[in-house]
Symmetry: C2
DNA sequence: ATTATATCGATAAATATATATCGATATATA
DNA sequence: TATATATCGATATATATTTATCGATATAAT
């Protein structure tokens, strides 16, 4: 039986919490993690039970083992090559963000249809014309595509990515992308999050 | 009885779908919306039942009425003043993004502790030193704060915002912020989304 | 006018998720 | 050594969410 989405979403929080603990800390209890993240202790224990070995009463879990288990489960260990389509503000923010390496994501390059944007970015990563996307992805064996183009171009870019053999797409454009079943589409919807905020504020 | 979070999260998707329909379309059925967004029709119908008036068999709902109801529910109609703390790539991406107006969000300015970043951005919005944050928020009656600073500075900025009378914080730093109960904290966690993608890819 | 059909709202069932409870146990303390 | 305590895993309960089913109804077609 596979692990549910809600649990998967919490795993990186646990990982982040564990990483930020002092190095000399060897053991952590579910209770402590829960308090640190504002979650329930039973929930944390149940989540951890799904992926790691047992914890010890009065002691908790082994931090190192836990971190290992989470990284394994999330596939952070095998490095995955990614490209970004759309070198706007958001796209270049991603391109220059070093932190993705911790998640096993190696962003190879960005692509844009505005030729004035092409060239080398501050951090030494390149922005190429979008027309080069397919060939690049094929020869470099890129498996993840990040879409940060305007909605109107998103489906086009998605099609290109699919044709290039990309296996998963992280989509920041607020549109439903049509792609073969075999391609994983992960939609990121800032509007959803903002809606929550706005609604809570309205009450 | 209030509307659940999962429903609230879907409302902007409906709104977006409705907006993108041809102007001459007056009626939409739940079935059509569901197909367009890749959701179940019963789910759409139940969601809409919570916020809008009745639909007609064989015809569906009135598009205009529906859009109105969603915008009302999400509080998109009353304009809310917001500031951004952290004028990095992500922060300036938000600062220059015009689309937030559709969500009732009026981003007044950004703030940064790096003085070399202060000044006027491309779109005519200003970046001020972070030391000006409190006074600005108080005098301008800002109610939303967007945090796009590094994790290490996030709590500091959060404290400042709370002291400035900000009512809701949209937090992009992967840390748990401590704030009074009365302040709404909405965490945005890109790592969670990426974790899902990565996990699905690993299987 | 009758029939067919798309759609509705409502109710019911199924699934998923979160929370509460409790006996067992490893460590620390008396 | 005996007792107290934090924590565990497991089981049970409660809540939330999604999906399925069905009779009713507005419109279109016969």
């Amino acid at each position: 039986m596979s692990i549910s989405q809600t649990v998967i979403r919490r795993l990186p929080m646990y990982l982040h919490y564990l990483k930020q603990l002092p190095e000399e800390t060897h053991n952590v209890s579910a209770t402590t993690i829960a308090a640190g993240l504002g979650l329930g202790d039973v929930q944390v224990r149940k989540d951890l039970a799904l992926i790691s070995g047992a914890g010890k009463p009065k002691v908790g879990y082994e931090k190192a083992e836990l971190m290992d288990a989470i990284e394994d489960c999330l596939g952070y260990k095998d490095k995955k090559l990614a490209v970004i389509a759309g070198a706007g503000k958001l796209g270049t923010a991603f391109l220059e963000f070093e932190g993705f390496n911790d998640y096993g994501l190696n962003i190879a390059a960005a692509f844009d249809n505005n030729l004035s944007k092409t060239g080398c970015s501050n951090t030494g990563k390149y922005i190429y014309p979008i027309s080069d996307l397919k060939e690049f992805c094929r020869t470099e064996k890129v498996i993840i595509g990040i879409i940060t183009v305007p909605s109107s171009d998103a489906q086009n870019v998605c099609d290109m990515m699919v044709e290039s053999g990309i296996k998963a797409i992280w989509n920041f454009a607020p549109v439903k992308l049509n792609a073969p079943e075999s391609v994983i589409i992960q939609n990121e919807n800032l509007a959803s999050s903002l809606a929550l905020l706005s609604n809570r504020l309205a009450r």
